[in-house]
Symmetry: C2
Subunit: 110 residues, 2 copies
DNA sequence: GCAGCATATACCGATGATCGGTATATGAGA
DNA sequence: TCTCATATACCGATCATCGGTATATGCTGC
């Protein structure tokens, strides 16, 4: 799972949201670092729906504009939980190696 | 940065290694979940060298087989440190949302 | 003796997620 | 009236990764 996909699932873990709101949520979540392109977002939404990780929640018309809400499925929740654990494990391994490295090399790298 | 790239940098954070050893290291690190293909590994090595994140360390001939060692550069170390922090931050955000979600929905998802 | 496996580097085409751009439409603000 | 924010959707391009193959050697089991 790549970063944008992970972030979409994280956004929906907070409750149902429509596409554009997901983009805004992710932008806020990452401190503005990640702003998903429309193409990336809607492609990811379609793909995740096909895979059963998310599903349509409801549709609203706000100011004559369609809003299609999506929500995380139980499968999606499990998937996000597993992915989160993986991220944390890898971060821990990398941090341990970096820490040992700094002790051994004393900050003198090439 | 994608997972295989991150894992290659993590492997080299532990000290210089040659290509094949990196594959083995990553396999061990991930409990056998990730076994990089030769194509992925050597392409990543070339790319990371071009980007200045790793560099050639030395070459050895062991049993008439070439071993080309690579090591992390200072730039690579900074890059891995930043990436690790990013992973940890995202894992924390996702976990918080999942935790709140479980309280709110009480385990009843679609 | 030879087949198969592990070691080791390297190249190739295919896949697929993401990027960047565009299209469409409306309401709000300058 | 022009631009910006909202909102969904499609398109081609890029590029990391995957899966397979090529090449070569040494070790192990039959």
């Amino acid at each position: 799972m790549r970063e944008p996909t992970f972030l979409v699932l994280t956004a929906l873990a907070g409750g149902p949201q429509h596409g554009y709101a997901v983009i805004e949520d992710i932008a806020g979540m990452t401190g503005g670092r990640v702003r998903l392109r429309a193409g990336t977002l809607y492609a990811a939404l379609d793909r995740l729906r096909t895979e059963g990780l998310i599903e349509a929640d409801r549709e609203e018309i706000v100011q004559s504009r369609l809003r299609r809400y999506y929500r995380l499925t139980a499968t999606g929740e499990r998937s996000l939980t597993a992915e989160t654990a993986r991220l944390r494990t890898q971060a821990t391994i990398a941090e341990r190696r970096l820490r040992i490295r700094r002790i051994e090399l004393g900050g003198a790298t090439s």
